[in-house]
C-alpha cells in the first residue's frame, strides 16, 4: 500500500511512546507524521523541543496552511485544532474544543481521513479520555489502516479501550511492534 501520511493521537502516558517512535524512524521516512497530543493550552513552547531532542526526523509545530513534507513530524500547536486540507496542507482552527480538547484528536483524524482515505495510517496511544475513538473509526470507514497501542502496555488505557470499543481495528500493537510496522513502510 502506498501510504500518504501517518497520524498519531495520544494523551496521558503517550509522550514516552511518541519519543520512542520518533527516535526509531529512519531519517528518510517516506511520508509525513502528524501528531495530535493533548497538551496544556497556555504552554506554548517546550513540547516540540522535548520531542525533537531524540527524534531522528525534524519535529515542527506548523503554521496555518503549511505544506506537509515527507520525513517531517507535525505537532498540533497548543490551543488550536489541526486539520488536514485536501491539498496536503495544514489548516489550523480555533473552533470550540471537542471532548474538552483543543487540539482535538477526533478532528485531526477525521480531516486526515477525508484527505487521504485509504492511504492513511491512524494510531491511537495511551490516554485518559475517549478523544480519538471516533476519529479512528473515520480512518477505518474511509479504508485507512488502524492501529491501537496494546492497552496492557498503556500507562492510561481509557483512550485505547474507547477506540477498540468503537472500531474493529487492524492491529493492536505494543510500542515495539508499532515501530517495526512503521520501519517497513
Amino acid at each position: 500500500m502506498d501510504y500518504k501520511a501517518v497520524i498519531i493521537g495520544g494523551s496521558a502516558g503517550s509522550f514516552q511512546v511518541v519519543t520512542r517512535i520518533l527516535n526509531s524512524m529512519p531519517k528518510n521516512f517516506p511520508i509525513p507524521v502528524l501528531l495530535c497530543l493533548h497538551r496544556l493550552k497556555h504552554v506554548r513552547s517546550g513540547f516540540v523541543e522535548a520531542l525533537s531532542l531524540k527524534s531522528s526526523i525534524p519535529v515542527e509545530e506548523p503554521y496555518d496552511k503549511d505544506q506537509l513534507k515527507p520525513s517531517h513530524a507535525y505537532l498540533a500547536p497548543a490551543n488550536y485544532h489541526m486539520y488536514i486540507e485536501l491539498a496536503n496542507r495544514i489548516a489550523l482552527s480555533t473552533e470550540d474544543p471537542v471532548n474538552h480538547s483543543r487540539p482535538s484528536i477526533d478532528l485531526s483524524f477525521i480531516t486526515a481521513a477525508n484527505a487521504y482515505r485509504q492511504k492513511l495510517i491512524g494510531i491511537i496511544l495511551s490516554g485518559a479520555n475517549k478523544d480519538g475513538a471516533y476519529g479512528l473509526k473515520k480512518v477505518h470507514d474511509n479504508g485507512g489502516t488502524t492501529i491501537v497501542q496494546d492497552p496492557n502496555e498503556c500507562e492510561v488505557r481509557t483512550m485505547t479501550q474507547s477506540a477498540l470499543q468503537l472500531t474493529k481495528v487492524d492491529h493492536v500493537y505494543s510500542t515495539d511492534q508499532i515501530i517495526k510496522y512503521l520501519l517497513k513502510l
Binding site: Y63, E85, S93, T94, E95
Partner: protein
C-alpha cells in the same frame, strides 16, 4: 450526523453568491465544511438541499448562517503574553504619541472576546477616553450577542485563568456577573465602541487606523483570499500602523509581507512600512 460532500458545498457557495453576492469559495474547506455541518445540526436541518432552500427563502436565516460560519473568538485574553506586550511595550506610548484620538479597528468580531479584552486593558491603563474603537461584524446577530454580553461559563473560566496570567490590576470577577447558566460581561466596558456591520470582503473598511486586531481570522481562508484581505487591512492602516494576527498565522509566504515590518513574530505583530 449529516456529512456534506463537495457537491453540496459547491451548491451552497452558488446559492449564497447568487442571492446575497457573498463569495465563500475561497474559505478553507475543512473548517467551512465543519461549520456548515454544525449549522445543520443546531438548526435541525435534515440535509444539504433543505439548507439551500432555507438560504434561498429566508434572509433572516442568512444572517444566522453568517453568524454560524464565523468562528467566535475562543476566550478573553487568549495568549496572555500578547496582552502583556500591548500593555507594557506598546499601547501607552503609542496612544500618548498620537495627535488625534488613537483609532483601533477590530474586523469580524463574532462573540466579542477580543473586544472585551481590549476595552478592559484600556480601562486598566486609564486610556479609554483616548481611543476610538470600531468593531465590525458580518452578522446582525453578532452585534446583538456582543452588546448583550452573555458568555458561556466555561469560557469565563478559561478567560479568568488567562486574565491571571495577564496579571491585570483588578479582580476579573469585577467584569462580569453570573446567573445559573451564563456569565454576563459588564457591557459598560464597551459603551463607547462603535459597531458596524461589514461584508465578508472587508473592502468597506475604515481609513487612518492605528491598530488592527485581526487574530485567528486568516486561518479560515485560502492563501489567495488571505492576500486580498490583508491588502484591505494594509489600506486601512495609517503609515506606521500596527496589525496583529494570530500566533500561528504566518504571512511570510504571502507577497504582502514586503509591505510590513515584523515587530514581534512570537505574538504576530506587524507594522505597516512607512513611505509607501
Amino acid at each position: 450526523m449529516t456529512e456534506l460532500g463537495i457537491v453540496d458545498i459547491r451548491e451552497i457557495y452558488k446559492t449564497v453568491k447568487e442571492i446575497y453576492n457573498y463569495d465563500f469559495s475561497q474559505y478553507a474547506m475543512t473548517s467551512f465544511k465543519q461549520r456548515l455541518e454544525r449549522l445543520i445540526i443546531k438548526n435541525n436541518i435534515s440535509n444539504a438541499e433543505n439548507l439551500v432552500n432555507k438560504l434561498k427563502n429566508n434572509p433572516e436565516f442568512f444572517d444566522l448562517f453568517l453568524y454560524e460560519i464565523s468562528v467566535p473568538s475562543t476566550e478573553m485574553f487568549r495568549d496572555p503574553s500578547l496582552w502583556r506586550w500591548l500593555r507594557e511595550e506598546y499601547l501607552p506610548d503609542a496612544i500618548d504619541k498620537s495627535i488625534s484620538k488613537y483609532k483601533i479597528f477590530l474586523p469580524n468580531c463574532v462573540s466579542g472576546g477580543e473586544l472585551y479584552s481590549l476595552t478592559i486593558l484600556l480601562k486598566e491603563l486609564e486610556l479609554s477616553d483616548n481611543v476610538n474603537i470600531l468593531a465590525t461584524t458580518v452578522s446582525n446577530k453578532s452585534i446583538e450577542y456582543i452588546k448583550e454580553g452573555r458568555y458561556d461559563l466555561k469560557k469565563i473560566e478559561v478567560s479568568s485563568e488567562n486574565y491571571k496570567r495577564f496579571q491585570g490590576n483588578s479582580d476579573f470577577t469585577d467584569y462580569y456577573t453570573l446567573d445559573r447558566y451564563y456569565a454576563f460581561r459588564d457591557t459598560g466596558i464597551i459603551k463607547d465602541v462603535e459597531f458596524k456591520k461589514q461584508n465578508i470582503n472587508f473592502d468597506d473598511s475604515p481609513q487612518n487606523v492605528k491598530l488592527i486586531l485581526f487574530r485567528n481570522n486568516l486561518i479560515y481562508f485560502n492563501p489567495s483570499l488571505q492576500e486580498k484581505i490583508l491588502q484591505h487591512m494594509y489600506n486601512c492602516l495609517s503609515a506606521g500602523g500596527y496589525l496583529i494576527l494570530g500566533i500561528r498565522e504566518r504571512i511570510r509566504n504571502l507577497n504582502i509581507i514586503k509591505d510590513f515590518e515584523i515587530i514581534n513574530e512570537a505574538e504576530g505583530v506587524y507594522k505597516k512600512r512607512i513611505g509607501q
